[in-house]
Symmetry: C2
Subunit: 300 residues, 2 copies
């Protein structure tokens, strides 16, 4: 692989547009009561973003040859959980951020109470997406998806990672502690995204599922390292939030513990390791391979 295949960028764009349309259809219209809540939910979800988690669902679905419509519910569900976590994370009680994806954060555009409720209702909608009958997705697969998403999002997953992150501010955290925190905070939902896509396949071998999970663990951590690198090196405009905001908050980061160059090397190593996990797959895993490359080379 010397460069992405010509159809990769359009394919990722297609997936992004696909999940945006699916989310748009599943979110109640802004005209429906309570209108302010629905406006805030739509603002938080439809305002852009890289849709990394949704594209991982679709790309993992490619490896098991699942038709795209079957992947819409889990793709929406992971984006809804991600969006809810950002809305709550930005609140004054947490990170107190004013800017997200280059726009005012949800509580700045609306108000704190509305943002709190919008986050709550987005989480609920994620589970509703998976529970609502959908063509081609049998009951047992959908229930397994609810379980996977819940385990990845709760106190032993994403929310637990956020709690560890809070506890770490102003404290000394070693590399192992930082990795442990990020494996939950961002890693758990990224792993779940790959697993949810893979779950739509029939008769997937346990070994293949483990390989995909190994891939997902690597890119989850690489994603966070690249985030930390961009917080040091990126342009505020491109990353959509204030540069250096993590460092200013005295949050431990990979560059602060490892240095910038060593952090970049670590991200590249994780990318290579991610690709190794896909050795047993043919061209059906090419999109996953190129998402991994995108994760460590992205500028925003």
């Amino acid at each position: 692989m010397t460069g992405p295949p010509a159809d990769l960028v359009p394919r990722l764009d297609l997936y992004r547009e696909r999940v945006r349309a699916a989310l748009d259809a599943r979110l109640p219209p802004a005209s429906r009561e309570p209108t302010r809540l629905h406006e805030a939910m739509r603002y938080a979800v439809l305002g852009g973003g890289k849709r990394v988690r949704a594209t991982l669902v679709y790309a993992a679905g490619e490896t098991v040859e699942a038709p795209a419509p079957r992947l819409d519910p889990p793709a929406c569900a992971v984006e809804l959980v991600h969006a809810y976590s950002l809305v709550h994370d930005d609140l004054p009680a947490m990170d107190d951020d004013d800017l997200r994806r280059g726009r005012p954060t949800c509580h700045r555009a609306f108000d704190e109470a509305t943002a709190l409720l919008a986050g709550d209702a987005l989480q609920t909608l994620a589970f509703e997406c998976l529970a609502t009958p959908s063509p081609g997705l049998p009951t047992d697969q959908r229930l397994a998806m609810v379980q996977t998403l819940a385990q990845a999002s709760g106190s032993l997953g994403m929310a637990g990672g956020q709690a560890q992150d809070l506890a770490a501010v102003g404290h000394v955290l070693d590399l192992a502690g930082l990795e442990r925190m990020h494996r939950l905070k961002t890693g758990a939902l990224i792993r779940a995204s790959v697993r949810l896509g893979a779950l739509t396949g029939e008769d997937l071998a346990t070994r293949a599922l483990e390989d995909l999970d190994g891939y997902a663990r690597c890119i989850g951590l690489a994603f966070q390292i690249q985030d930390d690198i961009l917080d040091v090196e990126g342009e505020t405009e491109a990353i959509g939030k204030t540069r250096g905001s993590d460092a200013a908050r005295n949050k431990p980061t990979f560059p602060s513990l490892l240095g910038l160059e060593e952090s970049k090397r670590r991200a590249r190593d994780l990318h290579a390791e991610a690709l190794e996990h896909l050795d047993g797959f043919g061209p059906s895993a090419d999109t996953l391979r190129w998402i991994s490359a995108f994760i460590v080379s992205r500028a925003s």
Copy 2:
């Protein structure tokens, strides 16, 4: 029915103790990392409460002769959703309450960020309870429960009612508007509790499900009217929060719109209507009948 059967009070106590033990088993131990988050989750859930929603699940289960162990997952799920909503509702951005069930609210006992995350993780755990395999609960029933709970909790249910409640502070709200708000804010989860219990039965007739739903709609509203009455008449110690706090906040209430006596008459009428909906049921609905009586006569 001239008085509750001798075994009713012990039976309700049994259900309360049953759901408490089931919740205790499903909540991660406080010793598990992140410990502060797990402590806060346990504090918010295991600190008492009337467990009205859980007892409704068990009592609705009686009408379809479901064994109690089959009812533990939905009983836990409704209590977890209720607990999460109270934790978030008490936050400074919402009601800013210091006292709940006679103890400091979660964010006062811990901190705002921890309370926010604890509420988030409790909602997740509610769905995980329903998705985790459980003896006697087939996959399709559990998935239907996820859907029912999600619809009742989201922006067109409980969270939507809270948004309407926020929008109503300081505004003129007529009786129809107040009822509409409460049918979502507290009513939706109470209806879901009865429905979840009924869903554990096999081959329940549509008519029976509709009757149970009619019952649940009546007691849901009666519950809220009695809450408003207690806010005027109750003792701070008994109701576990500051008396008159709704009135002080300029929130519209049933007594403020109807007067106290008319509010009491309305609660009694709803109780009578709730019982009528159960006319087609025999003694298997006696616990539901007495829960209705308890709701309009309770002092806390």
